[in-house]
Symmetry: D2
Subunit: 231 residues, 4 copies
């Protein structure tokens, strides 16, 4: 089953900006990961920025806890914050050390402009709007990585043997992360029904949600591009 069903809200937001979505999900960075041809320096640059990204990603989920008016939404977001800050970030550092990067190196690296542009856009959309605006701004990341991982792992043209990025592909394509993706997609369906209703496309804010999703998707594509260009 597709990680992001066409009928889900995220599926419908994707369908609204197919060019931007392809520019992100099928970015050269992703293709080169799948082929194992991505320059290692690009991957290292990406890994460092991804660690810095996780800090602001955690802040965004903390904001989601604050902005939830249902206990269930609070709990989901709180588990994510805690997992990110107290588990994932440590695992990420372990993984980085396998690529020769020490925590000292990573923390001393300045945030790249593309990284900053993306995270601040998400946080600001969340502050100025409601929980739904925030979750939609997060969804190209929270749902998109699962789609990309799933596609790469199931695409016969992906090279797994001797691919230095095999573990990255297996992480995001694997059952555990697919389950995370599924839950993120479902939560957005649930919050949309809660904050708008059964016919969100008829709401005045649908265009605005599409615009937030489209912009966040472009900013995610910019994140891959930053990796490729080591900028």
């Amino acid at each position: 089953m597709a990680p992001i069903p066409d009928t889900s809200i995220v599926g419908r937001l994707k369908a609204n900006c197919p060019i931007e979505w392809t520019a992100y999900a099928d970015h050269d960075f992703v293709r080169q990961l799948a082929e194992g041809t991505l320059p290692e320096e690009s991957f290292r640059h990406y890994l460092i920025q991804d660690y810095l990204f996780l800090i602001h990603f955690s802040r965004a989920y903390a904001l989601a806890v604050y902005k939830s008016d249902r206990l269930e939404d609070m709990r989901i977001a709180a588990e994510t914050v805690n997992a990110l800050l107290n588990t994932e970030m440590k695992l990420h550092l372990d993984y980085c050390s396998g690529w020769g990067l020490t925590e000292t190196d990573i923390v001393a690296t300045p945030e790249s402009r593309s990284n900053m542009a993306y995270t601040r856009y998400v946080l600001e959309a969340g502050n100025s709007g409601d929980l739904l605006d925030l979750l939609v701004a997060l969804s190209p990341c929270s749902c998109g990585y699962g789609e990309i991982g799933h596609r790469l792992l199931n695409d016969p043209s992906t090279k797994l043997e001797c691919n230095p990025y095999r573990d990255w592909i297996e992480l995001y394509g694997g059952a555990e992360f697919q389950d995370v993706t599924k839950k993120a997609v479902e939560q957005i369906d649930s919050v949309t029904a809660w904050r708008i209703g059964e016919n969100p496309e008829a709401s005045g804010r649908w265009d605005s949600l599409c615009e937030v999703f489209r912009t966040a998707t472009l900013l995610e594509a910019g994140f891959w591009q930053m990796g490729l260009e080591r900028s």
Copy 2:
């Protein structure tokens, strides 16, 4: 025409909590204003707290500017902020001085607990939700004063002759303030259509909007009660 038409969103929110609305709009403080029997000390206490209230009311409209995603909503809110901070608050002090209250007295008075409870509830609802949550939390005040003023001014049982509160009644019942009320009611209709759609009652958040409105109405009733009790 009724300042808050039954078919407007604020009208429908009112209809959802008739007991709380009556407890506010028909509060003893209001009745005694209409009869001219309200103890002057109660009115003075109310006036002082109302000045402190205006500070946080201005902050709430500033938050509305920040949270608007339509230029038109920003402009309406910005005019309100500026009018409050740079005109209304000065007029309020002039009016207070007619009641023997100096600015020094007023600013030295601590915010009463009922005042604090109301303003912080409104600001927090606005921060955690979206522009609509904020405007709904403000509406018992932004729309309710116009309804109360209109009713008092048009009710034959209201005593205007020799009523020390006549100017208060004429201010809120007068054409200028009725126009402010009308615009506030219309903006909430417009923002509801924008943020939810044409059928807001079918939205999951309708109950939550009703709850915000009901709570803010009770907290407004608490504000009158504070005046009456000089607490």
Copy 3:
């Protein structure tokens, strides 16, 4: 050792409002807990409201994660959020069931006005200010419960035998909670040094921090009063 050392920031904030602090920490509700004479209905009312309080307390710590600019502050706050939402609230319900209260009863109870006044004040102080404003607004609760528990448990006049509230006293006076208190006190020292410097009393905002602390202390006293009056 005193849970809140006199030289700590919280200790100095306490010293600035001794009357308010006593009104809170030595409130009749607390005395009657220590004597075992508190009416059970008051305790039940308090327990229900305390559960509703924990929801907004969790939101406040989530806001603290968002507002932290040091990873260490984020981690401390994130652990608190997760512990509250995914452990403490369940333990609280278990404890409530020992007092004959079901989750259904609890969740169906409306937030009392004193409860609302306190939580919204804290959240709003945090949103409009910085992390330090937020932690100071939380401190009468996050540090005060530890002081109260420690005093009751070590005061020979406290009646422990056959006191129906013995477990409450032992919880907040016990080693585990004392450690939580110690960490909360130390974090505020650390964040004060970070956000102001070594001489916070010389800062323009010291008065404002004292005012936030004093107000939050009064609102906490109001919470006990609510329990006593079952209001």
Copy 4:
């Protein structure tokens, strides 16, 4: 007198990042404005993005109203919001029409990524921090334009005769805007004394303020670069 005195807080923040400040204040876009050699297409691109920028700049000052705890700071910020939304933006459109740009063209143009990166960074810094963090993030713009205008207008090498950008230079170098700059510089001095104290460099947050200022300066330089590259 220099628009930004060396002893002012903004002067000290500038001194902390001289390379970044020069990259902004002496950017090729600025030099070409002074020489009258900037391609008109670049200037038009800049004007359009500057209009879109003003929307978020207004939102930032609205946030400053909300985050002020002194009436005087609220009033200054509220006047700015109102002037921007209800006067400046209209003047900007008039000015744009002199360059052949209609409002329809302008509003239909998407926000450039550099524009978005800058405004969202400022708004997010303001939300997560306090009023001082917000004003510092705004200062490369709110104070820097005055410095640039003053320098260009007083530099004998600036070409004013037949320079199509003469009115831009005279606007930002002129007495009225110099006064705006002076007030912005003074407000930051005042808010720093208020939020930190007389020795801000000794505060733990001084490094963080320097970092916010440095980042915002780089993002402003990116805004000129966007104009130059029409990106």
